[in-house]
């Protein structure tokens, strides 16, 4: 199954039965990774490495993989083997027909920001057969000493800060830190310093250049009572909105959700550690790890909500039903 870049049909109709079945297989959430490709300047999700039959990327397309929320150091009942889950994902990435150019990790690399957790994560990520891995910090990577501990292992441009940008195959990538700057009782934020940097960074990018933003916490308010949002995301969006194609990749909520605002498409990713409840899920009350019966872990998150977003489309949200 392939998703043609020139297909102008309603996104819902892009889900043919085979794809719907494949999306259902995304319930095998643990050890899965999202594969992205950029064709014609528009990033698109091809599926997951657990889907069995990924869409094939066009020749010469830039392909990269997103993983998130590995929580190395977590060892409780919800998933006592997060290292195994990460290695499972790595094996799946290695089995891809088209090798990705690189891997992005959208935060919560560690669980408790311990040096040994960062170290172990870095060692395992080095097993990936890719040129590099780009990470952004999650709030679990910023405990005790801000992001200083994280930066000892993941300072991507050597500048001692947790935000950066780079260009690859005509796409401008931006990594942000939206887990530290906050006022008590509110959502975390990017902060003025980082927003100023973002403004200056974007000033040198042409409006037609596709932009991919990496940030841990969703860049829109998914559920404020659980901190699932970024306080000053509107300021960031105002900087990004003029560009023709913007894709924001987030983690944090351990499930796939999407939102599209004009030319800006926002996606959260699944975790490689443990499932979390749906936003504000009744009967749960807090965003803690969900425990499932033995044998169910690999198929809990049957509801994978992957969307195929094409440029300049006002809204392209795909809600994928559970497949039990």
């Amino acid at each position: 199954m392939s998703i043609d870049d020139t297909d102008k049909r309603d996104p819902e109709k892009l889900i043919d039965p085979d794809r719907r079945k494949a999306l259902g297989c995304l319930s095998a959430w643990t050890g899965a990774a999202v594969v992205w490709t950029v064709v014609g300047g528009v990033p698109r999700a091809l599926g997951t490495t657990h889907a069995g039959s990924l869409a094939t990327a066009s020749k010469n397309a830039l392909t990269f993989v997103q993983i998130s929320d590995t929580h190395i150091g977590f060892h409780k009942e919800a998933n006592p083997d997060v290292v195994g889950s990460l290695r499972h994902a790595i094996a799946d990435i290695h089995s891809l027909a088209q090798s990705p150019a690189f891997v992005v990790h959208t935060g919560d690399v560690s669980h408790l920001s311990k040096p040994e957790e960062f170290g172990q994560a870095k060692e395992i990520l080095a097993e990936l057969h890719v040129d590099r891995v780009h990470t952004v910090p999650g709030e679990h990577d910023a405990i005790d000493d801000g992001v200083n501990g994280y930066l000892k292992f993941f300072d991507h441009d050597g500048k001692g800060r947790s935000w950066y940008s780079f260009d690859q195959s005509g796409v401008h990538f931006i990594g942000l830190n939206n887990v530290l700057d906050f006022k008590k009782g509110t959502l975390a934020a990017l902060g003025d310093e980082q927003l100023a940097w973002l403004k200056s960074d974007l000033a040198r990018v042409s409006r037609s250049t596709p932009i991919v933003v990496l940030a841990h916490i969703p860049m829109w308010t998914v559920y404020a009572p659980w901190g699932w949002g970024t306080a000053d995301s509107a300021a960031a969006m105002s900087l990004l909105r003029p560009f023709g194609s913007v894709t924001v990749l987030n983690g944090h909520i351990h499930q796939v959700l999407q939102k599209v605002e004009g030319h800006v498409a926002l996606h959260t990713a699944m975790s490689l550690a443990y499932p979390l409840p749906t936003p504000g899920q009744a009967g749960i009350g807090e965003p803690g790890p969900l425990k499932v019966p033995a044998g169910e872990l690999g198929k809990l998150l049957g509801t994978r909500q992957l969307s195929v977003v094409r440029g300049r489309q006002a809204l392209a949200l795909i809600d994928t039903p559970l497949d039990r």
Partner: protein, 122 residues
């Protein structure tokens, strides 16, 4: 605002079961400090909330926080006087409040979690 007399974040195994522990004083002379007594007011960190959210104690009182969640939390004072490290499941943090005042705090990992300690003579 407050001059902390003691402030520590410890794992349960380090605390012992309410048994006095011997520690070195600043001048190297061994001193005996009692671990949290059974009557020590306790704030439970459960389901991403401090319970009770508000607590009132007399000056000189010790308060104990215990994290019962499976995710890390912190007890971080808005004025930086409360400053636990990341507390994993069952980790504890205690603080002695020497002076009167209202001490607001939050979790640095989940800033929507907030609490306050009122220290009053009566």
């Amino acid at each position: 605002m407050i001059r902390a007399k003691s402030c520590s974040s410890t794992r349960p195994s380090m605390i012992g079961s309410l048994i006095a522990v011997i520690v070195g004083s600043a001048i190297g002379t061994p001193a005996v400090l009692a671990a949290a007594a059974p009557s020590t007011p306790t704030v439970d960190i459960t389901k991403f909330a401090f319970t009770p959210t508000e607590i009132t104690v007399a000056p000189g009182s010790r308060i104990l926080w215990v994290n019962h969640d499976e995710v890390p939390h912190t007890v971080t004072g808005d004025d930086k006087h409360l400053a636990s490290r990341g507390m994993d499941t069952d980790d504890r943090y205690e603080h002695v409040f020497a002076e009167e005042g209202d001490y607001t705090y939050h979790c640095a990992v989940h800033p929507f979690m907030i609490g306050v300690v009122h220290v009053r003579k009566d």
